[in-house]
Subunit: 238 residues, 6 copies
């Protein structure tokens, strides 16, 4: 079958919801296979609400976060897997790196979404960026597992960090996610440990929508914004 696919490399198990949930749902609705690879459950750094409960353990936090992420991915129409590499700090050795390479080779994605190059508030995010790019390069090398076919050159887009200007991240592509906004917001609601972010990222979606409208003369309510790592190659400038 010729189902097209996309790969989302997410540092923690909720990043993909806030930052790329619209793109995931949009392409899933178009019949693509959208796969989310979570390097960590975010069990230390993004689960404050859980840790405030009595008798909480690392395993319990990880299990709850996994459950939430799987539910959110299901709402978006995406598949999901976890590398469980820890967070705060995330630490990824070559063995885990090669699993990301395997994901590239198996999915053969048309495009990849991941974190920004810099984030002074969260060092796991630029590390995820580095791993996603490094794995892509290795997956292109004929000498890595030579029996497997290499991949081409899928474009990589960097989704929006929490404080964009501090991360030197710049919106270069706006994607209209209005048709799937409801799904994205339902996925938000699954992430019970981070309720304070629901409205933050709703407003972010509306601001990007207004900006997308201004850059296009279209009328766009909700948008997601992405920075491009590599130049676009196209038959059409538009």
């Amino acid at each position: 079958m010729n189902q097209k696919s996309a790969l989302i490399v997410s540092a923690h198990s909720a990043d993909f919801v806030w930052r790329a949930g619209g793109a995931a749902a949009l392409y899933a609705e178009r019949g693509w296979r959208v796969h989310i690879l979570c390097l960590s459950f975010g069990e230390r750094g993004e689960s404050a609400k859980l840790w405030k409960q009595a008798d909480m353990s690392l395993e319990t936090v990880k299990r709850i976060r996994r459950d939430e992420s799987e539910q959110a991915a299901a709402i978006l129409g995406a598949s999901i897997s976890f590398l469980d590499c820890g967070d705060y700090p995330l630490r990824v050795g070559d063995e885990a790196l090669f699993k990301i390479v395997d994901a590239y080779r198996q999915l053969r994605p048309e495009f990849v979404l991941t974190h920004s190059f810099k984030d002074p508030y969260n060092f796991d995010h630029p590390l995820a960026n580095h791993l996603a790019l490094e794995a892509r390069i290795i997956a292109q090398a004929h000498g890595h597992n030579p029996a497997e076919p290499v991949i081409g050159a899928p474009p990589v887009f960097l989704f929006e960090p929490h404080q964009p200007e501090q991360c030197e991240w710049k919106p270069e592509t706006f994607l209209d996610i209005s048709p799937v906004w409801e799904k994205k917001y339902r996925a938000f609601q699954i992430m019970g440990a981070q309720e304070h972010l629901w409205e933050y990222y709703t407003r972010a979606g509306l601001q990007r929508g207004a900006q997308a409208s201004r850059n296009s003369s279209k009328n766009i309510k909700y948008a997601e914004a992405f920075q491009c790592v590599y130049p676009r190659v196209a038959d059409d400038l538009l």
Copy 2:
């Protein structure tokens, strides 16, 4: 009629040939109206060969340059007009600026091509960039000639300067111009005063083609590269 159009704002009368001749020819072949607006004939700075002839006058140089540019535009399938604002230095007052605004309002281009933001070798180029962007903004204002319909928000792409790295210009979109390369090279050959550039820009086209191939898994022989001024708004990331 619903013919689409594109606008090229060129500082000197040959810039559009080297830097955007492929894009012009490609869209012209697709049935678009491609219009080139030359701010200057390049009569002082880009006509060294002519000035080495005996008894040369400014008017003669301008006439020859105009003739060449009209021929080159015809080969590319584009229309062309001239503002004759001088070069080395180019000096453009508000009257000429409003003529560029008029061009925006009359053409209503789907996209605009112009020079890079910086060029330490040629100050007319960043000035052309500034004028092209400023005119676009004025053409969007309801209060400028209120009887006329305003324009939307056409994307602006910056074509390749002569020494890209020195101009802090970066390729962000590659356009495959292989199908129209022969036309572009024929347009080169019209520019008799700048023969030394024919091979320079042939090699540039081949290098950009090789880079476009590497960024896409396609096999592209000749490409033109462009930097994007504004974010892209799209239904598709690719």
Copy 3:
């Protein structure tokens, strides 16, 4: 009297409302004289709604915009004056520049607020920035109107542009404007020609508030963000 003062240099007559209305109201409540200097009424570029009315004239638009701005300034507790230098394009000669210098010399502001260095969507904004900085430098020169006392070195803060990342503008100081938010929003409501911006800048205030909270462990609902032009000189790092 020793009333302290602040100066806001606004390109168009509504910019100060969206971008610095909170700072204006906050310092006015503290007993400062806050003066807004509008270089233009924004009569061409920011008055689309007015121009859609029948029989509108430039003078009527300017009058309406002046009225609105005076009302908004009054709500914020600030004084306001206008240089009427036109917009789209704003054009400011040395005579008008020296009026800005006069404002510096008369007000002797403790700080200055103005536009970002760059804005590819609005060239009047970086021009206002340039004029505000150039006038400040001239006001420091002993040889300019030597009979007048020169000013010191008031810090300059750049308020938030409409699309921050595209303007290479970065938040470096967050000011908690929650106590005066209601005034700022009432000033929004005066600007009838730009109703679409009310919610946009409400959300901007909330996003900056959330970011200010995260950068301080305080609980801040609404904030304005500013970039700093000059280094801060202080007795305390905090």
Copy 4:
């Protein structure tokens, strides 16, 4: 007791003297606890004079450097501890990283001082920067040693590297250290292995003082300069 505290993360055992000795002494005089955490003794890279002595051993160099650093810290009124992670190259594993996290949790500093993001002359410096920031982030995570209270969001300031422009470091805050200059200079004089730096950093203090004066209309003789990592959150712009 409610003694406020500050943390200085210094790559080598003398960096804090040249780069932050004034800030340390100033806050110590104000009654703060100022703690210096040295990642290395600088026993290889900053002890040329010692290594020129006969029969010198690594342990002796480290002991002498420790003694000097303790004396210098005492003059400045600060406490000091050492992680002894080696230098040229400094190598810090997660165990040592968690000790820095512990320092954050125990001190609960109001602000942190450390090295610049880049330094092409000394790779231990940007590594110290990275560790200081990464430890701060981990100390904020509820899931790291969940029994301990997390810290807030202390601002981080980057002190001046040896060749500022080559390190892409920019002064954003000037601190007047004239009142404690004599202490800083006495601390210089302890560092016998680096006598050539006494005058270099005296001149640096005077240049920064002159610049601080020019940016403030104050009369400041000696200053230290700092770059800011995070935006400032304040009730006052000044």
Copy 5:
């Protein structure tokens, strides 16, 4: 005669002393013709001490500044001329620009020294930079005064601004000026209106000397630092 020459384009009549006095003296000692072109006398912005005298007039300030500059140039072994274009603000029309072009064509300099690209403390400096570069480009054009021979491509070096990091200026070449330091300091002493700068620029010379030593293993006491506008073309990398 084959005397080589160098051109210094100085915004105000003392800039060349502080920023390029060493280079001027060094090349003059080597038998070069070093010519200083002052766009302004600095009569408004750099003559505070004079304006504090009773009954001072603009003409008197200009005369005194001209006298001082001529004396300083003589000490350095350089010739000097003035365009008298005003300062604070400096305003240079095309007529004056063409005089700078004439200087290029007459001197045919081996290299050019001028101000930095940016300076938020002094807008005359980046304007001088722009004019020096624009005049160089025009002087290269065959169509500008076609009867005159065009110039080649002399390298342009940007001398040190007062607050280097704030001007985004970076030292890329250090020139050992120790052999002529005494002359440079004597030229300082001529500039009576700016006595506060004597020690500032002495320390700057020592700091750059120390940095030059560290980047070369040489022992250099005083240096001047320059940023390069264009790439170097050489037979030798060193």
Copy 6:
């Protein structure tokens, strides 16, 4: 003996050919010892053609690549050694780092050539850059192998990456390699696995030659371009 030497740190065994073959041959012809240190054979990422052969093994690829590199180095007149640290990904521990330090101490190079700071297409390249710079710093430290003499401060130049603008690499020095071009092209022809690069880097040499000509008024056919890591210290600005 007083033979001068230069060091080239090459990530993969062919990088030095494309990027620094001209500089190597030029200095070898001048009687210098030019030594190439290859961190990897490029056996995975740059040997696609070999891996398409039946029954290929990693050892065979490495042997062939070593042979080719030795032949290419011999043509250029350089010596070569290999650290065999793997590629895609290159992984270099401190033991290998200290071998690079040893190379610095033994060769005592006048200058060093290596890769760019960034390369989003090849992460081994910036790692090689980092190692080359870090080893240089360690080689300068008196406390590293104290019995050995330390090195001075050799300048480091970054040779041209495959897609220069994407790597934020900028040509700052052009070296005329026309006299040794034939040797460089013969070295190209040894690299049988990368035939598609022969013409690419021939065109690159011609483009850089044309640019070198334009920046110098010389007539240069082939050039190599380099970015400078450290400031130049010189007796002459040219």
